[in-house]
Structures are given as C-alpha cells and as structure tokens.
C-alpha cells in the first residue's frame, strides 16, 4: 500500500517537474509547479510529517506560487518561442549529472544496507515534536529566520518602489 502511494506521488512529481521546465508559457509552468507542490505535500503525509504537509500547501501553494502568478500577470509575458542558446551544453551537462547520480546509486546498493524504518513511535504528535525542537534546540535559528524575513520584506519594498529618490507630493 505504501508503495502504491509512493509511486503515484513520485510519478506525478517527476512528470510535473519536467513540465515546469519544458512548457513555454510561464503561466502553465507555474500551474504545473502548483500540482507538484500538492503532491509533495502528499508525500510528506506518507512520511508522517503532517505539519510540514499543511505548511507546504499554505506557504508554497498559497503564498509563494500566488506571488509568482501575480507577477506573471502583472508583466503580461508572452510565451517564449525558443530555449536559451546554451541548450546543447546544458543538455550535455544534465545527461552527465544524471548518469553520475545513477552510477552513485548503483554503487551504493552494494554497500551497507539503508537502515530500515522503525515503526512510528507512539507519543506526542508530529506538530508537538516540531514545536518542541523549534522553540528549544533551534531557538536561535528561529530568531534569525524572522530577521531574514524582515530583511526580505524591506528589500522587496525598496526594490519594487517606483523611484526611491522621487519626492512624495
């Protein structure tokens, strides 16, 4: 049963990630990325990370992707008629990287077996565990993350402003 779910999610994730790169129209690319985000969230549920699945849908699909679509509509971009001129080099590099990864995985099969997943521990739920780790062990990174968001907010406002030197009338 786990395998069926995994292969369904994996197939859709692989197909939609290819479509993101291959489709000429940026709106279609963004929409296939939306489908991919939902299936990644499903994969998280099968991995017992329910909180992250919810966050994935709310933040990625709800906020980040809407922002992308908003900018695509704002700039009214036509679909591009051709790929970048470095396509042959990029294709070669992609094929080389792909064979490298496949070779590494084939070699690792003969090595030590991956640790088998133990049964899920009966205890506090996923969200409680994340919250406990986030607010005790990772309290300082958590505060730094808030600083990163503040800097991004200020930077986005300043960059997207019409003219920073223009006096306000």
């Amino acid at each position: 049963m786990d395998h069926i779910f995994f292969f369904y999610f994996a197939a859709v994730i692989a197909a939609t990630s290819l479509l993101v790169v291959a489709l000429r129209n940026p709106v279609y690319s963004a929409l296939s990325l939306l489908i991919m985000f939902f299936h990644v969230a499903g994969l998280y549920v099968t991995l017992h990370a329910e909180f992250l699945a919810a966050v994935q849908i709310v933040v990625y699909a709800g906020a980040i992707l809407v922002l992308y679509l908003f900018v695509v509509m704002l700039l009214s971009i036509k679909s591009e008629e051709r790929y970048h001129s470095q396509l042959p080099v990029a294709g070669l590099l992609g094929v080389m990287l792909c064979t490298e990864v496949i070779l590494l995985f084939i070699q690792s099969r003969t090595g030590a077996a991956a640790p088998a997943a133990a049964d899920p521990i009966a205890g506090p739920g996923n969200t409680e565990m994340i919250g406990e780790a986030l607010y005790s062990t990772y309290l300082f990174p958590f505060e730094v993350a808030s600083l990163i968001l503040l800097v991004a907010m200020i930077g986005a406002i300043i960059l997207a402003k019409k003219d920073i030197n223009e006096p306000v009338q």
Binding site: D2, H3, F6, A10, I13, A14, S17, L18, V20, V21, P26, S29, A30, L33, M36, F37, V40, L43, T46, L47, A49, L52, V55, Q56, Y60, L67, Y68, V71, L74, L75, I77, E80, Y83, H84, L87, V89, A90, G91, L93, G94, C98, V101, F105, S108, R109, A117, I130, A133, L134, T137, Y138, A145, I148, L149, A152, G155, A156, I157, L159, A160
Partner: protein, 101 residues
C-alpha cells in the same frame, strides 16, 4: 512494507537535476526562479525522508527554515524582476547583457 530510503533519494535527485537543467536552458527569469523552487523542494524531500528514517525531528525543522529562506528569496527575486522589467522592459536573460557591452 515500507518504501526504501533510496527511492526517495532517486526521486529528489531527479527533481533537483530537472531544476538545474531548467536554470540552464530557460531564458525567462521567472521560470528560472521556478526551477530554483524545484531544487529547494528536492532538498526538502530528502530532509523529510531522512527525518522519517532516522526518527529525528531535526530534518523537519530544517525544512521549516528552508521554507523561510524560499519565501524571502521569492519576495526579493520577484522585486528584482519587476525592477528589471521597468528598466529594460524585458525579462529574458539574453537581453540583459549590460556588462558585456
């Protein structure tokens, strides 16, 4: 029977490579940023899979931070794209060759 860890690694490797190729072959800056999102999601899948298999919640906390950085990257990146479009009225990287001239 549980899915082996290597399956998740292969999936995330495939998605990551798709993102790398997307960054290299596309001319539209918005689609290049979408490909960066693909790469970030591939690493997130890895983090969550390892977190499940080692029973360590730290991996999921790191996905949380990766998500924060992704949100910041999108906000600043899209602001840069809007500023570029205003200055050059184009968002194709072929047209942005100011340093080459």
């Amino acid at each position: 029977m549980a899915v082996p860890l290597s399956y998740y690694l292969i999936l995330s490797g495939f998605v990551f490579l798709t993102g790398v190729v997307g960054v290299l072959i596309r001319r539209n800056i918005i689609v290049i940023l979408l490909s960066v999102e693909l790469m970030l999601n591939a690493t997130n899948i890895n983090f969550v899979a390892f977190s499940e298999y080692f029973h360590n919640v730290a991996g999921q906390v790191f996905v949380f931070f990766a998500l924060t950085v992704a949100a910041a990257e999108v906000a600043v990146g899209l602001a840069i794209i809007i500023a570029l479009h205003r200055a050059h009225s184009s968002i194709y990287i072929d047209d942005l060759n100011l340093l080459k001239r």
